[in-house]
Amino acid sequence: MKLPSHLEETLAVLRRQCNGSSDLLINPVTVGGISCALVCCEGMISTATSTELILSPLAAIPCMPDSTALFDHIQTHLLLSLDRPVAREIEDVFRLIYSGFAVLIAEGETKALAFGVQGYDKRSINEPSGEANLLGAHEGFSEVVRTNMSLLRRRMKTPLLKLELSVMGKLSQTDVCLCYLTDRVPPQLIQQIKRSLQSADLDTLLAPGYLQPFLEPKKNRLFDSVSTTERPDVLCAKLLEGRVAVLIDGNPFALVIPKLLAESFQSLDDYCFKPYYATFIRWVRYVGFLLALLLPAVYTAVCVHHPELLNSTLLLLLTKAEADEPLSLPLEAIGGLLLFEVIREAGLRLPKVVGGAVSIVGGLIIGDAAVNSGLISTPMLTVIAIAVTAGFIVPDLNPVMTVLRLAFIIVGGLWGLFGIGLLGMAVLYTMCGTSDFGFPLTAPMSPFYVRGMRDTVIREGFRKMQHGNFTVEEYHEQN
């Protein structure tokens, strides 16, 4: 809807549309002899900044013949703020007001001037809780998209870094920023992502999970093909490899497209350590992933169906430990893992002070009591503990691991290694079949790219890695 030319009519429309919302502040004022109104949202602007930068200069404007001359004077002679959009539609006025702008509306004018004087409370830049590292920067994204954009820009002072702001969500009108390096990103990838974002017909956009399904075209996926990060340095590294990121206002996580499975096993510290140690740590992660996924299932399958695989000492030890257990091995494993998930969820949702106590009660008291009472055997508890701890090494894959671990235990308990093999094949096919925007999730392992091995199987030194700019386009497969 166009902005009416009469001030009273405009203000009436604003009042009507906001239904008397208490936070909308309409301040009638005369500027340069013209009737105006300065409209803003309470709590979204800085009172001190608006008084100093807007109200004082506006009060000092001499008399103007009409509103057009007034707006022309403000736009050409005064620099009230750096961010000065012009709104011609009522919807734009509301969006700007609720984004922390002070909007000046004048009698006889069909446009409104907006001044960026945002001053809402926000969380300061902290170290990311989910992606800790030893030697890298300790800055993480915050909830404000513009702050996050500045964090990126501080690390990439090049005009090639393009930050495209747009608005999504019919009700939330959330700012969404598309970030990419123009010389690195495959042009068709940008076009496809823009199309995908346009297809998202959302009312609100409160978390990355709202947008992620629209960036993963195929439904019911086991593995994510969009990764997230809350570290600006990690995001810069990904942008350098030709990826595209989506920053969402109100959320400290950036969505990164495309995702490769190998990325889940990489961390920023790998590039700070010596290559031999980084390679070793990376292999620890691969082994950790396999242990987390398969150890309880293989243990159950071997003990129940294939005891001939164990040596006599181990077999006797396990037989003795399991002899007095009331539950079967698969039930023990499933029960133990479910118990862990309950304790983990309780620790996560409760306030931090109580969460710690829950961990102590769950980990020490229940675990110890369960073994002492004979409900669960010590070897099984050890196996579960190893698997769960190993799962923490690759937090990115934790949701998949949690579900698949239970599924593997069930098939391993029922049909032994045969069942595990069949489920393994199904999972392998699912993993290999995951590919969005033409980028296979399993690259560079499969399809196999020798050049990709220098940061997958090993971590080469930067002297070698600097040769030949790598971009993900190398892994792109045409349909």
């Binding site: 049909w415 045969f418 093999g421 393994g424 094949m425 290999c432 196999f448």
Partner: protein
């Protein structure tokens, strides 16, 4: 059309070939090499054509013939696993069969490209198992047992024909390779020949006369990497995984070939699997198909290509 690269072509053919090799009923080195050599020669014209898609688009009967052939090879695979692995599994044979079919049904929906991508990690797993097998077999190997008689070479050549049943599959897949994939097929033929010869020799050295019946399974039963522990279950696991891979590949290739006959049949992989099962239930046993049908088909198909090509040339003239 989804494309695959040359290394993936090599991997999928090699894995499929290894399934044939591990399930073979007898391995007699001279007979095996003889039959394999003959079959490669028969398939050379086919492999040099490199244009199955065009040919099958013009001659629909060729597509149907190939689809029928792949269905029979798949049926033979099902009968092979029924006779060898199912009795050794811990689940009831019916349950095991149902589980295998369900897995194949799921994987067959993934498509040929997923199969190609899956081939690389599967090959890594296979090589790892081969290393374990070799470690165990080497301790029991005795070179003095390595004596081959050439008298019954022709008799023993028949089972060796089984090793060539995937060459038509190679030709169909060549049309889906990004660049010229003939070299991959050549490497595959050489690698499979070497693997077959190596396995035959290893079986003979490790198992002696016991290797006459189901040599691979006998080898796995006799070669244990650790004293006092048996690793049969691990080999069985690899055996079943190879079977799933082999069947998935065949269903994918069958669907692709049927898609050339009629585009609506391109997504018919699950139905191809069911047809394989039906064929397996109607046919008596794997040995009969292997001994009679496969060698004939392996010869008929290359000749049919020549016939189709000559009809085409005559029509063009």
């Amino acid at each position: 059309m989804n494309r695959i690269n040359r290394s993936q072509l090599f991997c999928i053919l090699f894995l499929s070939g290894m399934w044939m090799l591990t399930g073979i009923q007898s391995l007699h080195l001279p007979g095996l090499l003889l039959s394999f050599g003959i079959q490669v020669l028969l398939c050379l014209p086919m492999l040099m054509e490199q244009d199955f898609t065009t040919l099958a688009n013009r001659h629909k009967w060729l597509g149907i013939l190939y689809a029928g052939y792949f269905l029979l090879v798949g049926a033979q695979g099902f009968l092979q696993i029924r006779d060898t692995a199912l009795p050794q599994l811990h689940a009831a044979p019916v349950v095991s069969a149902v589980l295998i079919v369900l897995t194949c049904l799921y994987t067959s929906t993934a498509g040929l490209r997923s199969t190609a991508r899956c081939a690389v990690p599967a090959l890594a797993l296979l090589l790892l198992s081969a290393a374990v097998l070799l470690t165990g077999a080497w301790k029991r190997a005795d070179v003095s047992r390595l004596q081959f008689r050439t008298e019954d070479m022709w008799e023993n050549a028949l089972p060796g024909f089984l090793l060539g049943t995937d060459l038509p599959c190679a030709w169909v897949l060549l049309g889906r390779v990004k660049k010229n994939g003939s070299r991959s097929v050549l490497y595959y033929v050489l690698a499979k020949g070497a693997a077959a010869a190596g396995l035959a020799a290893l079986c003979r050295m490790t198992c002696g006369r016991l290797a006459q019946d189901h040599p691979f399974l006998t080898l796995t039963a006799l070669s244990q990497p650790l004293q006092g522990q048996r690793a049969d279950a691990l080999y069985l696991l690899v055996f079943v995984m190879l079977h799933v891979f082999h069947i998935t590949l065949l269903t994918g290739v069958t669907a692709h070939v049927l898609g050339l006959v009629h585009p609506k049949l391109e997504k018919s992989a699950p139905f191809a699997l069911l047809a394989m099962l039906l064929a397996a239930s109607l046919l008596p046993d794997a040995g009969t198909i292997a001994a009679l049908l496969m060698p004939v088909m392996a010869c008929v198909i290359p000749l049919s290509i020549r016939a189709a090509r000559s009809v085409q040339r005559r029509a063009e003239a």
